[in-house]
Assembly symmetry: C2
Homo-oligomer: 145 residues x 2
């Protein structure tokens, strides 16, 4: 693949959502409703990732609320450092997540895991925070309409 | 103002950008380019806020990179806790930021400052992280086309 083709394949990144780690998801839903009048989805248990999630919808973007299900959850260690919660990562979506993964591996970018299916059935992976000034960034496949 | 009117005025929040605090803005721009092929604006000095900023554009959303200009900058204290950088806040935009401020004050929501003009000339204020599970959230006026 030429450099030009790599650049073209990159231009398609969209911000899909912001992930907000919280100690109590019911409280977080109430706070988003009180402060912004924002609506939230039902709460879902994601056993594979050891978290509960709910989606808060703003006009153009989703906020993913995440509460750990146990002390072993990766979100639990984040909350030890940030007990009140905080911004855990953001997610970029792309047309072809496997191609994006291969392109980034070729550039020796530090990727935390190979693409795996998320709770929504789409493939995703995480880029190590050392690659982008301390920010954890998820890459996942665009949601099909 | 009735509750219904308040709810209507709330439904218009958009996510405008994600703010990423970084120790070195030139390095951050290079990293976003290398990892995602993302383009960045020129770097601007914002003396009022004691920061340098640059905007990275993804297809649907902006990332605001912020580097402190001095140890007195609020971003400097964030970087003391997160020396490699990290996700500092996100920003919601709304049609009428003064109305949004008044509505939220009426609900006794803890707001850090009265609306003040940002570097772009639009009014903005910040909601205290205690109101939304540890996340710092900025509210600003929609960018006019």
């Amino acid at each position: 693949m030429s450099n030009n083709e790599i650049e073209m394949s990159r231009s398609n990144f969209n911000v899909d959502h912001i992930a907000h780690a919280v100690p109590n998801i019911e409280d977080a839903i109430s706070q988003y409703k009180r402060v912004f009048g924002a609506k939230a989805s039902n709460i879902k248990i994601i056993e594979k990732q050891d978290i509960k999630i709910a989606i808060v919808s703003f006009a153009n973007l989703k906020i993913e609320l995440m509460e750990p299900l146990s002390e072993k959850s990766p979100i639990a260690s984040y909350l030890q450092k940030n007990p009140k919660g905080g911004l855990h990562h953001y997610c970029l979506s792309v047309d072809d997540v496997n191609q994006s993964y291969e392109d980034q591996k070729e550039k020796k970018i530090n990727i935390i895991s190979e693409p795996t299916k998320g709770y929504h059935g789409r493939n995703l992976y995480f880029i190590h925070p050392s690659e982008v000034c301390g920010a954890l960034i998820e890459v996942e496949e665009h949601e099909k309409e």
